[in-house]
């Protein structure tokens, strides 16, 4: 009897603090990882124009960043024009309708247009017909 009373007394002093800590840490982890799609984009000084609002959760099939010195990046990895050509042709090959292959180009606002022309010529060569130019809202709400 005495030992069972001792046992129940022992259960009453279970410390919930670490469990609450862990639960909240897990909540924060899952909330942060749900934003990883946005974190994937590298920081670029985009042209400042109101443009159109991007649809939430609907990333373009291919996102190409253009640096001020003409460096191209796809998924934060530096690539050359031939690799862009290969990636775009592979991507467009996976689409039932090539018109649905959506390319978002995020250029540095001060980069010369020749870098944009080069990448668009490559994309047009594989059958890309539609593209979007990434911009930043003038009020500073846009990302960069």
């Amino acid at each position: 009897m005495i030992s069972s009373r001792k046992q129940s007394g022992h259960h009453k002093v279970v410390d919930l603090t670490p469990m609450i800590d862990v639960v909240f840490q897990l909540i924060i982890f899952f909330m942060l990882t749900s934003h990883l799609g946005e974190l994937r984009r590298t920081e670029v000084d985009l042209p400042v124009q109101p443009g159109q609002e991007q649809r939430d959760g609907q990333d373009a099939a291919m996102i190409i960043d253009i640096g001020p010195d003409g460096v191209y990046m796809v998924e934060s990895v530096e690539v050359n024009l031939n690799e862009i050509h290969r990636l775009a042709s592979a991507g467009i090959g996976n689409e039932v309708d090539p018109e649905n292959f959506d390319v978002l180009i995020r250029p540095d606002r001060n980069a010369p247009a020749v870098y944009l022309d080069r990448v668009l010529n490559k994309l047009a060569g594989v059958g890309v017909t539609r593209w979007k130019l990434g911009t930043m809202a003038p009020d500073g709400n846009g990302g960069g």
């Binding site: 609450i20 159109q52 001060n110 668009l120 047009a124």
Partner: protein, 137 residues
Amino acid sequence: MARRRFERSSHLGALPLTSMIDVVFLLLVYFLVTANFAQQERDLSSSVQAEGGGVRVSELQPQIVEIVLVDGVVEFRIASRWAGSQESLTAILKSLPKEPGVAIRAGRDVPIRAVAAAMQASQDAGFSRRSYVPADE
């Protein structure tokens, strides 16, 4: 009675606030961090038009916006008219017929922000058919 009240107040006084403060600060840090990351980008949509291909030149000729650099200053040219700013380009484009669409072409050294300005102006002017003509190498 008095003893029970004392017990209750002492129990309340022993609430472990440390973990709650930890959690509140973690949430605060989380919202500060995500407020920076959750910036919304915008975009300007366009079709890509290979130079000389697809659409006949005669269809595009009156509606081509040429972006050139004159003494380091960006200038937008539409046929014989020209504009020195995005606002004046928008005003010119508003006076043009919308059915044929508009094509934008830029010189090699023109900054991409001027291309974005021309695309924005054509969108603001009400053109639903917008294309960009990349220059050949």
